[in-house]
Amino acid sequence: MANHRVGETGLTESRPPNHHHHHNIPYAVLHGMNVPTSFIHQEGSAFGFGELEEAIVLQGVNIRNDEAKAPLFRPAATLEMFPSWPIRFQQTPRGSSKSGGESTDSGSAVNTICSKTENQLEPESPISTKNTTPLDHQQEMASDFSRTGTSQNQPVAKLPQEKRRGSTSEKQLDAKTLRRLAQNREAARKSRLRKKAYVQQLESSRIKLTQLEQDLQRSRSQGFFLGGSAGAVGNISSGAAIFDMEYSRWLEDDQRHMSELRTGLNAHLSDSDLRIIVDTYISHYDEIFRLKVVAAKADVFHLITGMWTTPAERCFLWMGGFRPSELIKMLISQLDPLTEQQVMGIYSLQHSSQQAEEALTQGLEQLQQSLTDTIAGGPVIDGMQQMAVALGKLANLEGFVRQADNLRQQTLHQLSRILTVRQAARCFLMIGEYYGHLRALSSLWVSRPRESMMSDDHSCQTTTDLQMVQPSQIHFSDF
């Protein structure tokens, strides 16, 4: 919100060199205050000029960032609030301002600000939409600002001037004061209108969002079948997008369950209590397999290519997920101590999952061979027919991903049967942590600094590198 407001009433892009970036004072805080009044009543430096200086800088920064939003640059609104910095404004020609002849007054600056502000909303005031060279004016203002040294001095310097003026001509001061007050009220009113408009915009966006979510929920419950590009958001089908969303939610749940397991183990809960936690975790896994069934129907390629996972996980991908025998291999060494029976059970499990994996892999290979035969060269009697047959064969992919997921699910269930409750809790925790590490590895990999992009002048190069991390790759941990 601050950014939005600042976008209309901030400094130009030419920043005073002695200021640094990245402050974050809400502009609204400053603008909300009825500062001018108090200032005019000469409460002097009781007011925090340092904050103002920061705010001015902030607005300058924010303007830079909000260039798209604010085509017209505005002088700092804080300048509005300190009409007693007239010297600067006097030097800038303000022929276009309402107060025609009052070029020497900060009031004129305020007017110009107002008029420019009005340009964005509705032009209430009769003054112009003189945008001729607002940028120049403001740049001149800003450069004046910087040229005359630290801004800190200026407001203070103006005070005595204000005082002086007041003492010399009481009547004149009142008029000027009244005018300034009026203009400030006007500016405040404009700000309130802008804020209202912005809030309304937010509200309508929120409503739209809830509607979209409802649509999403509805179509998900209806079970939709989509081609890759139907209803695509960017390069991703809506089936894939929905699954990605559900998966990231599942990951958040996963974190929760894992901490429950951890606390359960550390607290030395009774076996029956721990059993409940472990069973909950197994149901949590069952949930993702259910989601994958739907996703396989909607977009099997999304699953099988592992686009829902992080890069490091993707490189270990087997038929749209983890390879059960590999998981068991990872766990075997860490599950000690095991009874002889348990050891036999685990090795037997690993063996049978290897056999099942091999069978599915060979089945998939035959599918690929068959597909190749269908679409590869040769006498094409009927291209469409050929494609139709190929499509039919492709549809079998879903079956393979489903069977692979089934295998994964059965493996996890069997593990929990072989192991004691405590062993099972530790086992699932290990699995969760393993994939957490793999995901973290992916994030680090993607954001690693690259030699070719380093340049001496860019002190914020690391920021850029971090920005290279694709959000989708960080958030999605995989299973």
């Binding site: 059970g345 099942a356 091999e358 069977q403």
Partner: protein, 125 residues
């Protein structure tokens, strides 16, 4: 151990088949061998299930329904038996229905498949 890897398993001559209820035929065929798989020659999942049994050292009896004149009826009967899933592959062990690929794999993982095979005489040790 030799295993049929081609699309044609042990072929049962039609003269032995008696016209009648396809389900009856299925059950009869299933009881004639230790491990019986109903398949379709072009089906890749059927290929996978055959590979699974061969990999375990089992020599299954395979009926390719697309090569059987009454295959269509039998497919329909199997679909009714299993309820909506693809009709093939379907596995019978020791004359009893085990199920489609998911049931077979589940039973292999939970360790019940091998004892069943041994019991039916399809596996030794």
């Amino acid at each position: 151990m030799h295993c049929q890897t081609g699309s044609r398993g042990t072929y049962v001559p039609t003269s032995r088949t008696i016209a009648g209820d396809p389900l009856e035929r299925i059950e009869r065929l299933a009881s004639e061998n230790a491990v019986v798989i109903f398949s379709v020659s072009s089906c890749c999942m059927c290929h996978a299930i055959k590979r699974l049994f061969c990999g375990m050292g089992v020599n299954p009896t395979v009926y390719e329904l697309d090569e059987d004149p009454r295959g269509k009826d039998m497919e329909k009967a199997l679909m009714r038996l299993l309820g909506n899933s693809p009709a093939v592959p379907v596995v019978f062990i020791g004359g009893k229905l085990v199920g489609a690929m998911d049931r077979v794999m589940a039973s292999h993982i939970n360790g019940t498949l091998v004892p069943l095979l041994k019991q039916a005489g399809a596996l030794w040790l």
